[in-house]
Amino acid sequence: MAVGSIARRYAKALLEIGVQQQTYDALGKELERLADTLRQSPELRTALENPVFPIEKRKLILDDLARRLALSKTVRNFVMLLADKGRISALPDIARVHRTLIDEHAGRVRAVVTSARPLDPMLESRLKTALEKQSGKTVLLEKREDPTIVGGLVTQVGDTVYDGSVRTQLQQMREQLLSE
């Protein structure tokens, strides 16, 4: 079975539990914290994914990690289930899909705006408002800086990109001149 499909099934199950308990945002944050920890420690990830180590030992490590990260009982049980099923390696994907499902459930959408220099707060606010008006959802705006775009802004909302960068305009001009 594809990793994306597996991740979606587990993420959806966790979301349903969180909706029932009205704690889906908190569960999502806990899951992301755990996924970040695994991402930052390759040794820990290897120890948890390697079948050479007995499952009991791996579960002990996970339990200890859950206590240190102060994870709820729901998330702790969820990762133990993943360990039993041998799906710990899918945890980062599950966290990503879970976040998307939470946003969809809460009527939110995440947007990334990239600028060559720090964006003026007033412009950021106007952009957020415009994007919310266009998407009909609450926009969670994430700001990034990338000097290679030279100037202008690039906004990505879901799979949609609004590219107003100078770099892209130069590329378009180059392609147009070459095609003539």
Binding site: A130, L131, V150, L153, Y162, G164, L170, Q171, L177, L178
Partner: protein, 248 residues
């Protein structure tokens, strides 16, 4: 001619050769032969006896054939005077005559046939040789005639060869001109293609350089105010889209 007939003919001829001295020898011995006589005299004095070596023999030789029909001859003869006589020559002649008659009956026709065929063969060969000679003479006449007309023929051939050479020369020149035209056209096409390719490369290089230079210039020269204006314009566009509800 069969081999058997040939052998018969050969036997007849051999018989004739063998029998001929019988007819000839005796008279010859009867005639004066000083050398033979002297030899016989010598042998008589040395050996002192034998067939034809005694006085009777010399006498007989002088008299011709001495024994025609008598079978009483040789060392066991009853009559002592016949001890030196040769076998009877008359019976030998009769014997030979019978042999000759038998041989002529058996070998005459094959011999005749052989001679006729040999004659025909030789005649045929002579006829063939005459025919070949006639043909050779005719061919010789033809060649002599040709040789006589050879100069004219050579002149005709030279004219023809020159004409063909001119035609071939014209054909080769035309083909070469066509090839040259084709090569020229191909070269022109390749040159045009190369020029176009170079022009495109140059254009690409110029565009790349121009875009690169523009990129560098903008990076160096875009001020904070320019950045803010561009961001405002961008946000304005997004707001306009949001108002019109136009999809992205």
């Amino acid at each position: 001619m069969s081999l058997r007939r040939l052998l018969g003919a050969f036997a007849v001829a051999a018989t004739l050769l063998v029998a001929a001295p019988l007819f000839v020898a005796t008279p010859l011995f009867a005639q004066e032969n000083p050398v033979a006589h002297e030899q016989k005299e010598g042998s008589k004095s040395a050996e002192g006896g034998g067939y034809g070596a005694g006085p009777d023999v010399n006498e007989g030789e002088a008299q011709g054939i001495v024994n025609w029909w008598s079978w009483d001859y040789g060392p066991n003869a009853k009559d002592p005077t016949h001890k030196n006589l040769p076998p009877p020559f008359g019976f030998a002649l009769i014997n030979f005559g019978i042999f000759l008659a038998i041989m002529s009956r058996l070998a005459w026709k094959p011999l005749k046939q052989f001679i006729r065929e040999r004659h025909d063969s030789i005649a045929k060969n002579l006829h063939e040789a005459a025919r070949l000679r006639s043909e050779a003479e005719a061919a010789l006449g033809t060649y002599q005639t040709k040789i006589l007309g050879l100069d004219a023929e050579i002149d005709t051939l030279l004219v023809q060869i020159r004409k063909e050479a001119e035609t071939e020369k014209a054909r080769i020149i035309a083909a070469a001109e066509a090839d040259a035209a084709r090569l020229r056209l191909e070269a022109e096409r390749q040159i045009a293609a190369e020029i176009e390719r170079a022009r495109r490369e140059l254009r690409r290089g110029v565009i790349e350089a121009a875009v690169g230079a523009a990129d560098e210039t903008l990076k160096k020269n875009i001020a904070a105010d320019d950045q803010r204006k561009m961001a405002e314009r961008y946000v304005g566009d997004v707001e306009a889209r949001a108002k019109t509800g136009r999809p992205s």
